[in-house]
Amino acid sequence: MDFSLGDDRRMMADSLSRYFADTLGWEARQAAAESEAGFSRDMWAGLAELGVLGMLFGEEAGGYGGSAFDAGAVFAEVGKALATGPFLATLLAGNILEAAGEADLLGEVIAGSKILTFADDPAMDANGVVTDPVKAVKEGDAWRLTGAKGVVDYLGSADLIVVTAETSDGWASFLVEADAKGVKRRAYPLVDGGAAGELSLEGASARLLVSGEDAISKARALGLVATVWEAVAIMEVLRDATIEYLGTRKQFGVPIGAFQALKHRMTSVALEIEQARSAAINAAAYFAKDPRTRDRYGSAAKYTAGKVGALTAEEAIQMHGGIGMSWEMPLSHFAKRLVMLDHVLGDEDAHMARYLKLASAA
């Protein structure tokens, strides 16, 4: 196994890293994350200009990447910068556009002229029960979608929405224009910065992109790889910040990291993060294999990232003490994002359950 990203990928990742460092300093990050859109449009346009979004897609679709490692490399930088924006939504929905051969449309997304999002998770009602799943009905040549989707990333800013829906022949994905008739959006901020929204469709006109569940599963699988790479990058930021703090914060006349109890706890965290990084590499390395293998490694990685993510976030805050809980410290925002990533695309438990199911199906 080659553990390096490769020169081309490294170069792109480095230029992305520089771009974030130059344009998304901490104050800019906070302002963007807390804005109504939840991200900076200027940053997004800059990324498009830099060609970053093209790295998420294959050459036939107008990109120049598209592999799981490409996605991983981009999302690691997103994590490191704690950037908010429709990164994951673009990856997931763009992957479906790619599968549908929608190169022109995807070209507009890569160029930054259209914001794309992905409506996949079902909406829940006030009691926590899935309500009103989206159904697609064919009327002549046209499709109409009715139903609700929950927590759709950056819904308020989206121009185009890729919606997964049930047809009489099973699952399929559709394209809906965000301002089409019958589309209702309720936007809100997220606890870790950024924005999302509730989508409700009432006979909204839609275009069929891909029939069947395979393309959706593949998109979700790529999303898992990306999310896990983002999570590991955040873990590493928290680890480095905490190690630095343990070495500089003095109590009882010595750096607190000199206390063996803390030193050993930090060591355990660092060890677990290495395990999580390996899990992320596994998920990318097995992505192109058969779906069962792909999904086993995907679930293994998401489970690991969830478990280690909570440990890392909680220990980083605990070892910092009160200061680790303050809004002023970037650390607390990294911790929040890391914990919330466990809630995206299925948590630790959901992926343990899926892993068991896939293992028993062998």
Binding site: G128, V151, V191, A310, Q318, S332, M352, A353
Partner: protein, 383 residues
């Protein structure tokens, strides 16, 4: 007790607590006044000062019942922290002056202990008080001062001597927050709320009669607080209430077609917490029993603090897990009492992520869990 709670606990307040909504200063004062009217605001105080003659077990039951009824938590700084210190170390005059004011709400106290350079190593605190005639003059800075924005008084640990061991130069002073030179600056926490503050002192004059105990013996008061009155530190009642809420949520919330309570992994996580909580309840009662027989708990209080806070944190972690993706939306207005707008996803999900992040404080404040482990180590192993 249940009858009293049924009758007197305003539904408006218990609803807020139950739904994890923000309590205002007026809410907390209202509940204090209701308890005080019945004589139950400070059950652990001696009867002569307005307490009760309840046994430690009766007090435990009271705390559990009020928490299970979703009553607001009694703000501890006056009633549970300063009160017992005054009763133990205060002069008659101090007791007569300050204790009734705690009960009737004339004073809202906050606690000036931690400093930027003195957290776990509290005894290294630097805020100084210099005696000048009939006054002490205080200079320095306290931090993480909970609800200082509501308080009109602050009790402080201050340095009155740099001689000898650092614990031996600390005094316990009572300060009026309206004194010139006291400045409160808010600290925003990671959940966005304003709960803690910095409190700055520049040439703050405090009359010498506001010294509690002897000069340079303030550490004794601080230590007293860390052990003696902490038999309810585990917050068993609060955890039981939170766990009941979790069970309710797990019954109604559905995941992949069945109730979350039937998801084997989630059910196992819940069972683990439930078992731990039941065990801790008995541990707590055992500690109370030994206190009832005249023993002073040291290691035991610390154990209750550690395990109690861990259990609380686990329950809030399970609540956020139960919400799935709906833990993430942040609806500020849904955290205010009386919110009757349309929730985003499950109605109970709005505060769960904020509560999870906010509750990280439980293992940090009140003597971090690391400090508690040190106390246990010293007390059990002499190391």
């Amino acid at each position: 007790m249940r009858e009293f709670l049924n009758e007197k606990l305003p539904k408006r307040l218990s609803d807020k607590v139950r739904h994890g909504q923000r309590l205002t200063k007026a809410d907390m004062e209202e509940w204090h006044a209701i308890l005080n009217e019945r004589g139950w605001l400070a059950p652990h105080w001696p009867v002569e000062w307005g307490g009760t003659d309840w046994s430690v077990v009766q007090r435990f039951i009271f705390e559990t019942e009020t928490a299970m009824a979703h009553a607001p938590r009694v703000v501890p700084f006056g009633v549970s922290m300063l009160g017992p210190v005054l009763i133990k170390f205060g002069t008659e005059e101090q007791k007569k002056h300050w204790l009734p004011r705690i009960l009737d709400g004339s004073d809202w106290w906050c606690q000036g202990y931690s400093e930027p350079g003195a957290g776990s190593d509290l005894a290294s605190l630097k805020t100084s008080a210099v005696r000048e005639g009939d006054h002490y003059v205080i200079n320095g800075q306290k931090t993480w001062t909970t609800l200082a924005q509501c308080a009109n008084k602050i009790f402080c640990l201050v340095r009155t001597s740099k001689e000898g061991k650092k614990q031996e130069g600390i005094s316990f002073l009572l300060v009026d927050m309206d004194t010139p030179g006291v400045e409160v600056r808010p600290i925003k926490l990671l959940d966005g709320d304003h709960e803690v503050n910095e409190v700055w002192f520049s040439d703050v004059k405090v009359p010498v009669e506001n010294l509690v105990g002897e000069e340079n013996k303030g550490w004794t008061c601080a230590k007293y607080l860390l052990s003696y009155e902490r038999t309810n530190i585990a917050g068993v009642g609060a955890s039981m209430a939170a766990f009941e809420r979790l069970k309710e949520v797990a019954r109604t919330t559905r995941r992949n077609g069945s109730a979350l309570a039937e998801d084997p992994l989630f059910a196992a996580r819940m069972a683990e917490v439930e078992i731990d909580l039941e065990n801790m309840r008995t541990t707590n009662l055992r500690v109370l029993d030994s206190v009832g027989r005249g023993q002073t708990p040291m290691a035991e209080s610390s154990m209750l603090k550690i395990r109690g806070t861990e259990i609380r944190q686990k329950i809030t972690a399970l609540m956020r897990r139960a919400a799935g993706r709906y833990a993430q939306p942040f609806l500020d207005e849904a955290l205010e009492g009386g919110f009757n707008g349309e929730p985003v996803g499950p109605g109970w999900a709005a505060p769960v992520a904020s509560q999870y992040f906010n509750n990280r404080k439980l293992s940090i404040f009140g003597g971090s869990n690391e400090v508690q482990r040190e106390i246990i180590g010293k007390s059990m192993m002499g190391l």
